[in-house]
């Protein structure tokens, strides 16, 4: 972490670029709502809440474990072998090897959108809302962290497949930014139950509003993101252990 702060100009450019990513993603929402006043049953500000919540959760997860998807590079350079020799869990070493502070830029944009949207979204501000938000942010960040670990683990088997796992990490993040009511058929199934992206932001916002969701997604599910995260983490840890066992060294 200190290494990142010592190159101030470069660090500032990185943070700015990450602010840019956040703004770029927000541009889509902005354009959509210049054309319509509601999307998937939510108003502008309610949808902005979904966007912000999804972004906060994703960037927090990305900050801590986002680099787990660089696994193929670690394998190629032999760094993973060094991790395996140390008497610490490999996953913990990997997570702490690079906390990408530059990604706070994205958290900032999301927090700003959130602060602007909250008073306008017609949401009661009370203890229940605050509790729900805390649950949603913690649960959402845990869900995306688990998704990153799943994606990382899969690469023990698919060393050339970094782009394929992007469809569940970045794809999941992208899907979480919009009301899940927009998705139908296999897509809804994928982003509710396989990669539980809907639990990160859409369902908590529905619960905040006290509105029933679309068929098959009752609003009380909005409280269940930690549960979804726990299930996913169990899968992620199993896969990770399987992956480490499967791994036979870089051969160098």
């Amino acid at each position: 972490m200190r290494a990142q702060l010592s190159y101030r100009t470069s660090f500032a450019a990185d943070v700015l670029a990450n602010v840019g990513i956040g703004l770029g993603e927000f541009a889509t929402i902005y354009v959509v709502f210049s054309r319509t006043s509601e999307l998937g049953g939510l108003t502008v500000w309610q949808a902005a809440l979904v966007f912000a919540l999804a972004n906060v959760a994703f960037s927090l997860a990305d900050l801590v474990v986002g680099h787990v998807d660089t696994l193929p590079t670690l394998v190629r350079t032999g760094t993973l072998d060094a991790f395996l020799l140390r008497p610490l869990p490999v996953l913990a070493q990997l997570a702490t090897s690079d906390v990408a502070l530059r990604r706070v830029g994205r958290v900032l944009v999301a927090a700003l959108v959130f602060a602007v949207a909250w008073p306008r979204a017609d949401v009661p501000f009370d203890g229940r809302a605050v509790a729900l938000l805390a649950v949603a942010v913690a649960g959402g960040a845990a869900i995306f962290s688990a998704v990153f670990v799943v994606a990382g683990s899969l690469q023990f088997w698919l060393l050339d497949g970094r782009e394929a796992v992007n469809s569940i990490t970045y794809g999941g993040s992208n899907a979480a930014q919009y009301p899940a009511s927009l998705y139908s058929g296999p897509l809804r199934w994928l982003f509710c139950y396989v990669v539980p992206a809907a639990f990160v932001a859409y369902l908590p916002v529905l619960a905040l509003l006290g509105e029933p969701g679309p068929a098959g997604l009752p609003a009380w599910l909005g409280w269940c993101s930690p549960l979804a995260a726990a299930v996913l983490w169990a899968v992620a840890l199993l896969l990770w252990r399987g992956g480490v066992r499967h791994y036979t060294g870089s051969g160098s």
């Binding site: 319509t36 394929a164 919009y178």
Partner: protein
């Protein structure tokens, strides 16, 4: 004999060796296409029957087609050339008997030609299955579309070349590349059609080369721009191509002189 056709072939061959990565990329393009199609169709549906001349089916078709062209056009910047500048390998390129910019362009066209089918077909097939596609029935849009796509790839190459050359002056280009990718994602029309932008954003987009990379080829191949309209867009593309290639040459010349100073 000109070495450039051989470089196109080399670009094609080099990329064709990454089979698993290509399949992985096609999967990701398709998943993002599905999300984008859902969002765009949702927008059109809640806005009434159409947005800026797009009905739901056309909006979905737009989503799938941009995802199909994303890899050939290479909307996202890579840092291959910037690394060569940083390590000094660029000196080797300058010493070769081929023009570095034309060589890079030829290789990039080869890459795009390889990626067109394996990265382009899967999102379109998924689109045809999930939402259906609104495609023109006459052959002319496809012919013009291929021309426009080749120019679009070239404009994108010329722009990425310039962005990479900033490495002569900046030691760390990651921030610049990321910023370029963010701008490109929005202004090429990748995330949402440029025609949907509010006026100020549309003006901003049209004063950059970005729409010439992706939005124009997609508009031409889907027949949204036909006849004179299509030819006018092609003209705009060619102007941007000339401007960017010229600026790139200038930048390389200036940068190369700097390189000699550093190395001397």
């Amino acid at each position: 004999m000109s070495p450039y056709p051989a470089l196109v072939a080399a670009g094609f061959r080099r990329w064709s060796t990454y089979r698993a990565a290509t399949a992985a990329g096609a999967l990701t393009n398709s998943v993002f296409g599905a999300i984008k199609a859902a969002v765009l169709v949702g927008t059109v549906t809640s806005a009434g029957a159409s947005v800026a001349g797009y009905d739901p089916l056309q909006a979905a078709t737009f989503a799938w087609t941009t995802q199909a062209f994303l890899a050939p056009v290479s909307v996202f910047a890579d840092d291959e050339l910037a690394r060569r500048v940083r390590t000094g390998d660029i000196a080797v390129d300058l010493a070769r008997p081929v023009d570095p910019q034309l060589a890079g362009w030829a290789t990039d066209l080869g890459r795009a030609a390889y990626q067109l089918l394996p990265r382009g077909v899967p999102p379109l097939v998924l689109g045809a299955l999930l939402t259906g596609l609104a495609v023109p029935a006459s052959p002319l849009p496809y012919v013009l579309g291929v021309v426009s796509l080749v120019v679009g790839v070239s404009v994108s190459f010329a722009a990425r070349w310039i962005v990479n050359l900033t490495a002569f002056w900046l030691t760390e280009v990651r921030g610049v590349l990321l910023l370029y990718t963010v701008l490109a994602t929005t202004l090429t029309g990748l995330s949402i059609p440029v025609a949907w932008f509010p006026p100020w954003m549309a003006t901003l987009a049209h004063s950059t080369p970005f729409p010439s990379m992706l939005q124009t080829p997609v508009d031409v191949v889907l027949g949204r721009a036909a006849g004179l309209g299509a030819l006018r867009l092609l003209g705009v593309q060619l102007v941007w191509l000339a401007v960017l290639l010229g600026a790139g040459r200038l930048l390389l010349a200036v940068g190369a002189r700097r390189l000699v100073v550093q190395g001397g």
